[in-house]
Symmetry: C2
Subunit: 196 residues, 2 copies
Amino acid sequence: MKTIIAVVLTIGAIALLMAQRKSEAAVSGPEFTKDDKLLLPANYREWVFLSAGLGMNYGPVAEANRDRPPLFDNVFVNPDAYRSFMKTGTWPEKTMFVLEVRASASKGSINNGGHYQGDVVGVEAEVKDTARLGGWGFFAIGSGTSGKQIPKTARCYTCHSEKGAVDNTFVQFYPTLLAVAKEKGTLTPAYVAAER
Amino acid sequence: MKTIIAVVLTIGAIALLMAQRKSEAAVSGPEFTKDDKLLLPANYREWVFLSAGLGMNYGPVAEANRDRPPLFDNVFVNPDAYRSFMKTGTWPEKTMFVLEVRASASKGSINNGGHYQGDVVGVEAEVKDTARLGGWGFFAIGSGTSGKQIPKTARCYTCHSEKGAVDNTFVQFYPTLLAVAKEKGTLTPAYVAAER
Protein backbone atom coordinates (compact mmCIF):
# COMPACT_ATOMS: atom_id res chain seq x y z
CA MET A 1 0.00 0.00 0.00
CA LYS A 2 2.78 2.41 0.97
CA THR A 3 4.49 1.62 -2.34
CA ILE A 4 1.38 2.47 -4.32
CA ILE A 5 0.96 5.78 -2.49
CA ALA A 6 4.64 6.64 -3.06
CA VAL A 7 4.41 5.83 -6.77
CA VAL A 8 1.20 7.84 -7.18
CA LEU A 9 2.85 10.80 -5.43
CA THR A 10 5.90 10.48 -7.70
CA ILE A 11 3.78 10.54 -10.85
CA GLY A 12 1.72 13.44 -9.52
CA ALA A 13 4.78 15.51 -8.62
CA ILE A 14 6.45 14.89 -11.98
CA ALA A 15 3.26 15.71 -13.90
CA LEU A 16 2.91 18.96 -11.96
CA LEU A 17 6.49 20.02 -12.67
CA MET A 18 6.23 19.14 -16.34
CA ALA A 19 2.94 21.04 -16.68
CA GLN A 20 4.55 24.06 -15.03
CA ARG A 21 7.49 23.91 -17.44
CA LYS A 22 5.16 23.69 -20.43
CA SER A 23 3.12 26.68 -19.30
CA GLU A 24 6.30 28.72 -18.73
CA ALA A 25 7.38 28.01 -22.28
CA ALA A 26 3.94 29.08 -23.63
CA VAL A 27 3.96 29.19 -27.44
CA SER A 28 7.48 28.27 -28.48
CA GLY A 29 7.33 27.94 -32.27
CA PRO A 30 5.16 28.19 -35.38
CA GLU A 31 1.49 27.17 -35.11
CA PHE A 32 -1.03 27.28 -37.96
CA THR A 33 -4.79 27.66 -38.30
CA LYS A 34 -6.81 25.03 -40.17
CA ASP A 35 -6.70 27.24 -43.28
CA ASP A 36 -2.89 27.44 -43.15
CA LYS A 37 -2.55 30.89 -41.64
CA LEU A 38 0.41 31.38 -39.31
CA LEU A 39 -0.56 32.42 -35.77
CA LEU A 40 1.27 35.32 -34.13
CA PRO A 41 2.07 34.01 -30.62
CA ALA A 42 0.66 36.28 -27.90
CA ASN A 43 4.02 36.02 -26.09
CA TYR A 44 6.38 36.71 -29.01
CA ARG A 45 7.72 39.76 -27.15
CA GLU A 46 9.18 37.27 -24.64
CA TRP A 47 11.07 35.49 -27.42
CA VAL A 48 14.75 36.25 -27.97
CA PHE A 49 15.45 39.70 -29.44
CA LEU A 50 18.05 39.62 -32.22
CA SER A 51 18.43 43.26 -33.23
CA ALA A 52 16.67 46.47 -34.17
CA GLY A 53 17.12 48.75 -37.15
CA LEU A 54 15.82 52.17 -38.14
CA GLY A 55 14.76 53.02 -41.69
CA MET A 56 16.01 49.73 -43.11
CA ASN A 57 13.60 50.15 -46.05
CA TYR A 58 12.79 46.60 -47.00
CA GLY A 59 9.72 44.40 -46.87
CA PRO A 60 6.11 45.23 -47.71
CA VAL A 61 5.35 47.14 -44.47
CA ALA A 62 8.30 49.46 -45.04
CA GLU A 63 7.33 49.92 -48.69
CA ALA A 64 3.76 50.84 -47.77
CA ASN A 65 5.05 53.53 -45.39
CA ARG A 66 7.69 55.28 -47.47
CA ASP A 67 6.17 58.73 -46.89
CA ARG A 68 6.29 58.43 -43.08
CA PRO A 69 9.18 59.12 -40.69
CA PRO A 70 11.64 56.20 -40.67
CA LEU A 71 10.32 52.98 -39.13
CA PHE A 72 12.00 50.82 -36.52
CA ASP A 73 12.14 47.06 -36.95
CA ASN A 74 12.60 44.64 -34.04
CA VAL A 75 13.45 41.03 -34.80
CA PHE A 76 12.57 38.19 -32.42
CA VAL A 77 13.20 34.45 -32.79
CA ASN A 78 11.74 31.52 -30.85
CA PRO A 79 14.01 30.56 -27.91
CA ASP A 80 14.50 26.91 -28.96
CA ALA A 81 15.79 27.95 -32.37
CA TYR A 82 18.01 30.62 -30.80
CA ARG A 83 19.66 28.13 -28.44
CA SER A 84 20.16 25.71 -31.30
CA PHE A 85 21.79 28.46 -33.42
CA MET A 86 24.14 29.46 -30.60
CA LYS A 87 25.41 25.87 -30.50
CA THR A 88 25.56 25.10 -34.23
CA GLY A 89 25.39 28.33 -36.27
CA THR A 90 22.42 26.88 -38.18
CA TRP A 91 18.63 27.09 -37.92
CA PRO A 92 16.64 23.98 -36.96
CA GLU A 93 13.22 23.01 -38.34
CA LYS A 94 10.40 25.08 -36.71
CA THR A 95 12.53 28.20 -36.53
CA MET A 96 10.26 31.25 -36.49
CA PHE A 97 11.28 34.90 -36.88
CA VAL A 98 8.93 37.74 -36.01
CA LEU A 99 9.70 41.11 -37.62
CA GLU A 100 7.86 43.82 -35.69
CA VAL A 101 7.75 47.18 -37.47
CA ARG A 102 7.13 50.22 -35.26
CA ALA A 103 6.69 53.93 -35.80
CA SER A 104 9.50 56.18 -34.60
CA ALA A 105 9.10 59.34 -32.56
CA SER A 106 11.61 62.09 -31.86
CA LYS A 107 9.93 64.64 -29.63
CA GLY A 108 8.65 63.50 -26.27
CA SER A 109 9.52 63.50 -22.59
CA ILE A 110 13.26 64.13 -22.07
CA ASN A 111 14.33 63.00 -25.53
CA ASN A 112 15.97 65.61 -27.79
CA GLY A 113 16.49 64.59 -31.36
CA GLY A 114 17.02 60.86 -30.96
CA HIS A 115 14.51 58.30 -32.21
CA TYR A 116 12.48 56.05 -29.96
CA GLN A 117 9.82 53.47 -30.71
CA GLY A 118 6.08 54.06 -31.02
CA ASP A 119 3.12 51.90 -31.99
CA VAL A 120 3.27 48.74 -34.09
CA VAL A 121 2.74 49.46 -37.79
CA GLY A 122 2.80 45.84 -38.92
CA VAL A 123 4.22 42.39 -38.32
CA GLU A 124 5.82 39.91 -40.71
CA ALA A 125 7.16 36.42 -40.01
CA GLU A 126 9.54 33.88 -41.53
CA VAL A 127 9.25 30.17 -40.71
CA LYS A 128 11.41 27.15 -41.52
CA ASP A 129 9.19 24.11 -41.95
CA THR A 130 10.37 21.87 -44.76
CA ALA A 131 7.51 19.35 -44.42
CA ARG A 132 4.81 22.03 -44.62
CA LEU A 133 6.42 24.83 -46.67
CA GLY A 134 9.15 23.10 -48.65
CA GLY A 135 11.76 25.16 -46.78
CA TRP A 136 11.26 28.72 -45.53
CA GLY A 137 7.99 30.64 -45.82
CA PHE A 138 7.15 34.33 -45.30
CA PHE A 139 3.89 35.47 -43.76
CA ALA A 140 2.15 38.87 -43.79
CA ILE A 141 0.47 39.32 -40.41
CA GLY A 142 -0.03 43.10 -40.52
CA SER A 143 -1.87 44.23 -37.40
CA GLY A 144 -3.79 40.95 -37.00
CA THR A 145 -3.11 37.84 -34.96
CA SER A 146 -2.51 35.54 -37.92
CA GLY A 147 -1.46 35.87 -41.53
CA LYS A 148 -1.35 34.13 -44.88
CA GLN A 149 1.81 32.95 -46.55
CA ILE A 150 3.26 35.46 -49.02
CA PRO A 151 3.37 33.82 -52.50
CA LYS A 152 6.69 32.18 -53.33
CA THR A 153 7.09 34.49 -56.34
CA ALA A 154 7.58 37.48 -54.01
CA ARG A 155 10.89 39.30 -53.88
CA CYS A 156 11.52 38.42 -50.21
CA TYR A 157 12.18 34.76 -51.13
CA THR A 158 14.89 35.45 -53.70
CA CYS A 159 16.47 38.24 -51.66
CA HIS A 160 16.69 36.17 -48.47
CA SER A 161 17.99 33.18 -50.43
CA GLU A 162 20.65 35.15 -52.32
CA LYS A 163 21.70 37.73 -49.72
CA GLY A 164 21.01 36.21 -46.29
CA ALA A 165 24.35 35.46 -44.61
CA VAL A 166 23.08 32.15 -43.14
CA ASP A 167 20.35 29.95 -44.64
CA ASN A 168 17.82 32.57 -45.90
CA THR A 169 18.24 34.80 -42.85
CA PHE A 170 19.92 38.21 -42.51
CA VAL A 171 22.38 37.15 -39.83
CA GLN A 172 24.66 39.96 -41.07
CA PHE A 173 22.31 42.38 -39.26
CA TYR A 174 22.26 40.40 -35.97
CA PRO A 175 25.68 41.05 -34.43
CA THR A 176 25.52 38.38 -31.70
CA LEU A 177 24.61 35.70 -34.27
CA LEU A 178 27.10 36.85 -36.90
CA ALA A 179 29.98 36.11 -34.51
CA VAL A 180 28.63 32.58 -33.94
CA ALA A 181 28.19 31.91 -37.68
CA LYS A 182 31.76 33.06 -38.34
CA GLU A 183 33.10 30.78 -35.62
CA LYS A 184 31.04 27.78 -36.79
CA GLY A 185 31.78 28.40 -40.47
CA THR A 186 28.10 28.50 -41.48
CA LEU A 187 28.09 31.72 -43.53
CA THR A 188 26.94 31.15 -47.13
CA PRO A 189 29.72 31.11 -49.76
CA ALA A 190 27.90 33.98 -51.54
CA TYR A 191 27.98 36.15 -48.42
CA VAL A 192 31.63 35.35 -47.72
CA ALA A 193 32.56 36.17 -51.33
CA ALA A 194 30.61 39.47 -51.30
CA GLU A 195 32.30 40.62 -48.06
CA ARG A 196 35.83 40.01 -49.39
CA MET B 1 12.14 -2.05 0.71
CA LYS B 2 9.95 -1.30 -2.33
CA THR B 3 8.66 1.80 -0.54
CA ILE B 4 12.19 3.05 0.07
CA ILE B 5 13.16 2.55 -3.58
CA ALA B 6 10.01 4.34 -4.76
CA VAL B 7 10.64 7.29 -2.43
CA VAL B 8 14.29 7.54 -3.48
CA LEU B 9 13.22 7.51 -7.15
CA THR B 10 10.62 10.22 -6.43
CA ILE B 11 13.17 12.49 -4.81
CA GLY B 12 15.67 11.83 -7.58
CA ALA B 13 13.18 12.59 -10.33
CA ILE B 14 11.99 15.80 -8.68
CA ALA B 15 15.56 16.97 -8.02
CA LEU B 16 16.44 16.32 -11.67
CA LEU B 17 13.47 18.30 -13.00
CA MET B 18 14.09 21.16 -10.60
CA ALA B 19 17.77 21.32 -11.56
CA GLN B 20 16.79 21.38 -15.22
CA ARG B 21 14.36 24.25 -14.63
CA LYS B 22 16.99 26.22 -12.74
CA SER B 23 19.53 25.75 -15.50
CA GLU B 24 17.00 26.85 -18.13
CA ALA B 25 16.30 29.98 -16.15
CA ALA B 26 20.07 30.58 -15.74
CA VAL B 27 20.74 33.96 -14.12
CA SER B 28 17.36 35.56 -13.58
CA GLY B 29 18.11 38.70 -11.57
CA PRO B 30 20.81 40.86 -9.99
CA GLU B 31 23.86 39.14 -8.48
CA PHE B 32 26.79 40.88 -6.84
CA THR B 33 30.47 40.17 -6.27
CA LYS B 34 31.91 40.19 -2.73
CA ASP B 35 33.11 43.77 -3.31
CA ASP B 36 29.59 44.91 -4.30
CA LYS B 37 30.05 44.98 -8.06
CA LEU B 38 26.97 44.04 -10.11
CA LEU B 39 27.50 41.03 -12.39
CA LEU B 40 26.38 41.23 -16.02
CA PRO B 41 24.54 37.93 -16.58
CA ALA B 42 26.02 35.95 -19.48
CA ASN B 43 22.48 35.31 -20.73
CA TYR B 44 21.05 38.85 -20.49
CA ARG B 45 20.38 38.76 -24.26
CA GLU B 46 17.76 36.09 -23.47
CA TRP B 47 15.99 38.42 -21.06
CA VAL B 48 12.91 40.33 -22.20
CA PHE B 49 13.61 43.12 -24.70
CA LEU B 50 11.72 46.33 -23.92
CA SER B 51 12.69 48.68 -26.73
CA ALA B 52 15.51 50.18 -28.78
CA GLY B 53 16.38 53.78 -29.54
CA LEU B 54 18.83 55.52 -31.84
CA GLY B 55 20.78 58.62 -30.79
CA MET B 56 18.88 59.02 -27.54
CA ASN B 57 21.84 60.96 -26.12
CA TYR B 58 21.65 60.24 -22.44
CA GLY B 59 23.83 58.36 -19.96
CA PRO B 60 27.62 58.29 -19.62
CA VAL B 61 28.28 55.93 -22.56
CA ALA B 62 26.36 58.19 -24.93
CA GLU B 63 28.09 61.28 -23.54
CA ALA B 64 31.53 59.73 -24.05
CA ASN B 65 30.68 59.03 -27.72
CA ARG B 66 29.17 62.33 -28.83
CA ASP B 67 31.52 62.65 -31.82
CA ARG B 68 30.59 59.23 -33.26
CA PRO B 69 27.65 58.29 -35.48
CA PRO B 70 24.45 57.94 -33.42
CA LEU B 71 24.38 54.98 -31.04
CA PHE B 72 21.63 52.42 -30.63
CA ASP B 73 20.43 51.43 -27.18
CA ASN B 74 18.69 48.12 -26.44
CA VAL B 75 16.93 47.71 -23.12
CA PHE B 76 16.41 44.29 -21.50
CA VAL B 77 14.75 43.40 -18.19
CA ASN B 78 14.82 40.16 -16.20
CA PRO B 79 11.84 37.93 -17.11
CA ASP B 80 10.47 37.63 -13.55
CA ALA B 81 10.26 41.41 -13.20
CA TYR B 82 8.69 41.73 -16.68
CA ARG B 83 5.93 39.23 -15.87
CA SER B 84 5.27 40.99 -12.59
CA PHE B 85 5.02 44.37 -14.36
CA MET B 86 2.60 42.99 -16.96
CA LYS B 87 0.27 41.97 -14.11
CA THR B 88 0.64 44.99 -11.82
CA GLY B 89 2.20 47.92 -13.71
CA THR B 90 4.88 48.15 -11.00
CA TRP B 91 8.42 46.82 -10.55
CA PRO B 92 9.13 44.20 -7.86
CA GLU B 93 12.28 44.01 -5.75
CA LYS B 94 15.22 42.48 -7.71
CA THR B 95 14.16 44.14 -10.94
CA MET B 96 17.22 44.55 -13.18
CA PHE B 97 17.46 46.56 -16.40
CA VAL B 98 20.36 46.13 -18.81
CA LEU B 99 21.01 49.05 -21.20
CA GLU B 100 23.18 47.80 -24.05
CA VAL B 101 24.67 50.58 -26.18
CA ARG B 102 25.73 49.59 -29.70
CA ALA B 103 27.41 51.31 -32.61
CA SER B 104 25.25 51.96 -35.66
CA ALA B 105 26.19 51.22 -39.25
CA SER B 106 24.56 52.42 -42.49
CA LYS B 107 26.46 50.88 -45.38
CA GLY B 108 26.66 47.15 -45.62
CA SER B 109 25.13 44.18 -47.41
CA ILE B 110 21.74 45.10 -48.92
CA ASN B 111 21.07 48.05 -46.61
CA ASN B 112 20.78 51.50 -48.21
CA GLY B 113 20.67 54.42 -45.83
CA GLY B 114 18.95 52.84 -42.83
CA HIS B 115 20.76 52.21 -39.56
CA TYR B 116 21.52 48.77 -38.19
CA GLN B 117 23.36 47.64 -35.08
CA GLY B 118 27.08 46.99 -34.72
CA ASP B 119 29.36 46.12 -31.82
CA VAL B 120 28.64 46.82 -28.17
CA VAL B 121 30.09 50.16 -27.06
CA GLY B 122 29.14 49.83 -23.40
CA VAL B 123 26.63 48.45 -20.93
CA GLU B 124 24.85 50.10 -18.01
CA ALA B 125 22.38 48.61 -15.54
CA GLU B 126 19.69 49.72 -13.12
CA VAL B 127 18.65 47.54 -10.17
CA LYS B 128 15.88 47.78 -7.59
CA ASP B 129 17.08 46.34 -4.30
CA THR B 130 15.84 48.32 -1.33
CA ALA B 131 17.66 46.21 1.28
CA ARG B 132 21.04 46.54 -0.44
CA LEU B 133 20.81 49.87 -2.29
CA GLY B 134 18.11 51.82 -0.44
CA GLY B 135 15.96 51.75 -3.59
CA TRP B 136 17.28 51.82 -7.16
CA GLY B 137 20.97 51.78 -8.07
CA PHE B 138 22.78 52.45 -11.36
CA PHE B 139 25.86 50.52 -12.41
CA ALA B 140 28.53 51.28 -15.01
CA ILE B 141 29.57 47.97 -16.59
CA GLY B 142 31.25 49.33 -19.72
CA SER B 143 32.68 46.45 -21.73
CA GLY B 144 33.38 44.29 -18.67
CA THR B 145 31.40 41.55 -16.98
CA SER B 146 30.71 43.47 -13.78
CA GLY B 147 30.56 47.09 -12.68
CA LYS B 148 30.56 49.40 -9.69
CA GLN B 149 27.56 51.39 -8.55
CA ILE B 150 27.47 54.93 -9.93
CA PRO B 151 27.56 57.40 -6.99
CA LYS B 152 24.13 58.55 -5.83
CA THR B 153 25.06 62.16 -6.60
CA ALA B 154 25.08 61.38 -10.36
CA ARG B 155 22.52 62.96 -12.65
CA CYS B 156 20.93 59.61 -13.61
CA TYR B 157 19.39 59.25 -10.15
CA THR B 158 17.58 62.61 -10.16
CA CYS B 159 16.57 62.35 -13.83
CA HIS B 160 15.09 58.84 -13.45
CA SER B 161 13.35 59.85 -10.23
CA GLU B 162 11.86 63.06 -11.65
CA LYS B 163 11.16 62.06 -15.27
CA GLY B 164 10.66 58.28 -15.29
CA ALA B 165 7.00 57.57 -16.06
CA VAL B 166 6.86 54.66 -13.57
CA ASP B 167 9.01 54.33 -10.42
CA ASN B 168 12.42 55.61 -11.66
CA THR B 169 12.13 53.90 -15.05
CA PHE B 170 11.54 55.39 -18.50
CA VAL B 171 8.41 53.41 -19.26
CA GLN B 172 7.39 56.25 -21.63
CA PHE B 173 9.98 54.84 -24.06
CA TYR B 174 8.77 51.19 -23.77
CA PRO B 175 5.49 51.14 -25.69
CA THR B 176 4.28 47.71 -24.53
CA LEU B 177 4.80 48.68 -20.88
CA LEU B 178 3.35 52.18 -21.22
CA ALA B 179 -0.02 50.70 -22.20
CA VAL B 180 0.03 48.47 -19.10
CA ALA B 181 0.97 51.35 -16.77
CA LYS B 182 -1.88 53.47 -18.20
CA GLU B 183 -4.34 50.64 -17.66
CA LYS B 184 -3.14 49.91 -14.11
CA GLY B 185 -2.91 53.60 -13.17
CA THR B 186 0.73 53.40 -12.09
CA LEU B 187 2.15 56.38 -14.00
CA THR B 188 3.73 58.96 -11.70
CA PRO B 189 1.67 62.11 -11.01
CA ALA B 190 4.60 64.20 -12.38
CA TYR B 191 4.56 62.28 -15.70
CA VAL B 192 0.78 62.50 -16.02
CA ALA B 193 0.88 66.26 -15.34
CA ALA B 194 3.71 66.86 -17.84
CA GLU B 195 1.86 64.95 -20.60
CA ARG B 196 -1.33 66.99 -20.15
